[in-house]
């Protein structure tokens, strides 16, 4: 399964027409200790660039943007009780939301793992 990445340091994996979205290891390193995660309700419709979730470290709050248009089908409610999982397993168990995509062509412009790695090196 191909993982795609955005310049906002989010990752996306796709199964059928459902995209699972999380933040990258780089993003969690930049945030530091995560102490709070605010998640959307299932059923909410989001457009690319909308705030899909909020992640707060000790220092500050950051938005997790919807990387594509669609409907939230599930949020990872385990993060509400254990926000520290975002630091421990950002690119696995600590996914944020699953979005039923309304326009799969929005995946086309995204980076693959090599391109994202190159993007990080350029920062």
């Amino acid at each position: 399964m191909t993982t795609r990445y955005t310049e906002d340091h989010e990752w996306i994996t796709v199964e059928g027409d459902v995209a699972t979205v999380g933040i990258t290891n780089y993003a969690q390193e930049q945030l530091g200790d995560v102490v709070f995660v605010e998640l959307p309700d299932a059923g909410k419709t989001v457009a690319k660039g909308d705030e899909a979730a909020v992640v707060e470290s000790v220092k500050a709050a950051s938005e997790v943007f919807a990387p594509l248009d669609g409907e939230i089908v599930e949020a990872n409610t385990a993060l509400a009780d254990e926000p520290g999982k975002v630091n421990e397993d950002p690119e696995g168990g600590a996914w944020f939301v699953k979005i039923r995509m309304s326009d799969k062509s929005q995946l086309d412009g995204m980076m693959d793992a090599d391109a994202y790695k190159a993007h990080l090196e350029g920062l």
Binding site: V35, F36, V58, A60
Partner: protein, 382 residues
Amino acid sequence: MTLETDGPLLSTPLTDLHRELGARLVPFAGYEMPVQFPAGIIAEHTHTREAAGLFDVSHMGQAYLIGPDHETTARALERIVPSDILNLKHGRQRYSVLLNGEGGIIDDLMVTRPVSEAEDGRLFLVVNASRKAVDYDFIRAALPDNVRLETIEDRALIAVQGPQAAAVVAAHAPEAAKLAFMAAAPMEFDGIACHVSRCGYTGEDGFELSVPAGAAEAIARALLADERVQPIGLGARDSLRLEAGLCLYGHDIDETTSPIEGAITFVLQKRRKEAGDFPGADRILSELDAGPKRLRVGLRPEGRAPAREGAEIRDTCGTVVGTVTSGGFAPTLGAPIAMGYVDAAHAAPGTALVLVVRGRELPATVADMPFVPQRYYRKPKS
């Protein structure tokens, strides 16, 4: 407080060491400062509460006020602070505030009277990094001709804080263990002449070591070689002081807030209160008498979402009654905490309020401060 600055950032005598230790460096008050080390803010915070943390606070302003005798210098400073400096004893220090004509706070600072009678006429000041330039201009403008301000540019300032701080510092400077809380003395640290005071900004026992810039790295390395000591960045410094209920200048107190509104009434001593001879005395004394219109209070939000600086505070009917000035996550409590100003009618501990975070209303309660009990050193009774 982060300040926008022109030109390159300043470094401290410990900046290279921070980099070597893997710190994430950020601009702060014109300096490149460590916000966190690889351990991370929560681990650094917890380590300071459980053992000892080392903080580089060399960006803060160190200065001497120098006059012909103690009375002259003390009275010169008393022109701009509401504290009793005249009766400050040798080797003791006092937390105070510089006041503008309206009783607003220009900065908060520590004032120390040297131990030695030979140094009478000198006071040692430590001011906030972000306010150095403003403070120095303000102080100089207020001084009589026979008292001068001499800024100290060749010394670093290292804080060691935590329940193990006394044992750690005493291993290199045995005299330190004998200091009372809010006392200071010159002493040798591994043979290096330093000025050590027993105070801090975490709510824990601890020390601030004013040391020659050239020896700062050796002293920091000697302290860090002790396994009880970890380096601590500005992130944990902020969460520690917030738990201790201590003000951060520019956030919790500023030129519009008085010491009474800021709930630091203890900067005002009886002699000065009775004389009413400090800037803004009309306002400050009437606030003391009738109570201030607004007051800095502690806040405990329900749930896990932190309320940050700027969040609106409403009463339970939806009326705006104040603003959050500092807020975040308290690692010791595992819960969010905040402080802010509220109208006096809503300032009593236990009052139910609402904090507006991202458009949502979070229930919160006015709480006593400090949020975490202070554990300052108390000399055993002899």
